[in-house]
Amino acid sequence: MIDMIAPQGSEPAVTPIGEGQNWQGSLDELKGMISPRALTGETMLLNMGPHHPSTHGVLRLLLELDGETIVSCVPDVGYLHTGIEKNMEAKTYTKALVMTDRMDYLNPLGNNLVYCLALEKLASLDVPERAMIGRVILAELTRINSHLVWLGTHCLDIGAMSMMLYCFREREEILDIFELVSGQRMMTSYFRPGGLWRDLPDEFIPTVQAFLDHFPKRVDDYETILNKNPLWIDRTQGIGVITPEDAIALGCTGPVLRASGIAHDVRKSQPYSCYESFDFSVITGDHGDVYDRFLVRVKEMRESIKIVQQGLKMLRKGPFISSNRKFVPPPRAELGQSMEAVIHHFKLWTEGFRIGKGEVYFPTESPRGELGCHLIADGSTNPYRVHFRTPSFVHISALPKLVEGEMLADVVAIIGSIDIVLGDCDR
């Protein structure tokens, strides 16, 4: 049991703010990362601070500039480090699920999914087919949701401000679907170990169908505004190029890798949650620049529409969660009739379920790249160790390679194109 509370009477953990705290750091700390010209003053160090309109969250970049060209770049992350991994060790498996939503906050259902899948693999828990298809539908809707926010903010940074309003208008409809299903717009915690929290309501299929009826035309609108727009092409083509070899060496996955030409998608290479029964293609680009990453994501939105359409047709009536009472609470109606149900309910609510010793790594495809969960269980009710492999962390580490030699104004376009979410990076 880890020691939770500091001894009584000890000093509070936070030192008084603002007194002698130099959070910016000094120049000689950076000796390994910036060129020697910065130390002599020949090039300028610019701080693109944690509070910046275009860094998509609290990312701090130290840019070494020679005029307008960037010589080197040192990203400084950790401004959103929430200690989720350690906090999950102090909670039971089900309570820890709630914290996974808040990691990559544009893909909350995807985070739920990866944790649930790792848990189910470790505990050998079966998931009924209705739950698997429901999970796929909602995960793809979350992918569309995430890409819409990406598109809106990316265009806002580059200057096409009306795209932000269009994308958020679409997004409201998807959030209405999440609210219909779980009661919450964003942090739903809807996927539970064994299946779904509650059954998909009857209005689910008509509502999603109504969304799918008009959304493809909207994606056509976005492509009409941007694809052949000379301003957009000027600002995005040839910028932030990464070769396939560099991308693989630096660990990039997802649209960043696919735009460089490598067709790697975890949904195809290691299918999970019955993705193998769906028909969709993996979109790749040719040049690996900002424009290609933009095209890959917009086309992925279309593929997600296809998957959701197929999923709606495949949905059949049936159980929505596993019937293994050691892990899944019994429905309330059963509690009045069966003594075992009451005992299971009691055990699950007081101490939670236990998973035997084991270690598993489960990769999934989040809108940003490969999201993996390394879960170690030791026979107790709490996870012994949870580690999330998050794509944004790896992509920000590839950022110095992407921005070297580019102009300062292009940094904003490049950061937007790699689609980082700082909650995903810092956890």
């Binding site: 309109p53 401004y79 409201e172 717009r185």
Partner: protein, 161 residues
């Protein structure tokens, strides 16, 4: 509001200085563009066309603290970010107000651990707390309306004496 019109159709209203100043301050509160985590996405959704915030005069989010009146702390504040928030708050000119949006800013929400500041009111004084994880855009708007009421209730003797 204590307005009474005199002299018929000449269009003159009389009121107290306090009321006029407070009314002016609520009319266009410019927020500082300060989204940290998930609540920032709901703040952006509140800013966009479905739940328009520009009808409250808050169309523009100022990126520079020197030009902002209101800081909406949207998201969890970590120990590494705490001195940054303090510096931004100190850089804002008076009058300034703070709205703690969401559970993490109010009381650290789900995260009771070494890395998260337990409520942003450990660092900067908060005027209005908006609960929710994340709060719906309508909840944020209710929080802003509450802040407007609070500003309208401010006394001129607090700052003018």
């Amino acid at each position: 509001m204590g307005i009474s019109s005199k002299l018929g159709n000449l269009g003159v209203v009389t009121t107290s200085l306090e009321t006029a100043v407070n009314w002016g301050r609520t009319g266009a509160l410019w927020p500082l563009l300060f989204g940290l985590a998930c609540c920032a996405i709901e703040m952006m959704a509140a800013q966009c066309s479905n739940y328009d915030l520009s009808r409250f005069g808050m169309e523009l989010n100022r990126a520079s603290p020197r030009q902002a009146d209101l800081i909406i702390v949207a998201g969890r504040v970590t120990r590494k970010m705490a001195p940054v928030i303090r510096q931004l708050y100190d850089q804002m000119p008076s009058p300034k107000w703070v709205l703690a949006m969401g559970d993490c800013a109010s009381c650290s929400g789900v995260f009771n651990n070494y890395a998260v500041v337990q409520g942003v009111d450990e660092i900067i004084p908060v005027d209005v707390y908006v609960a929710g994880c994340p709060p719906r855009p309508e909840q944020l708007i209710h929080g802003i309306m509450t802040l407007h009421e609070k500003i309208r209730g401010e006394r001129i003797t607090d700052w003018a004496s």
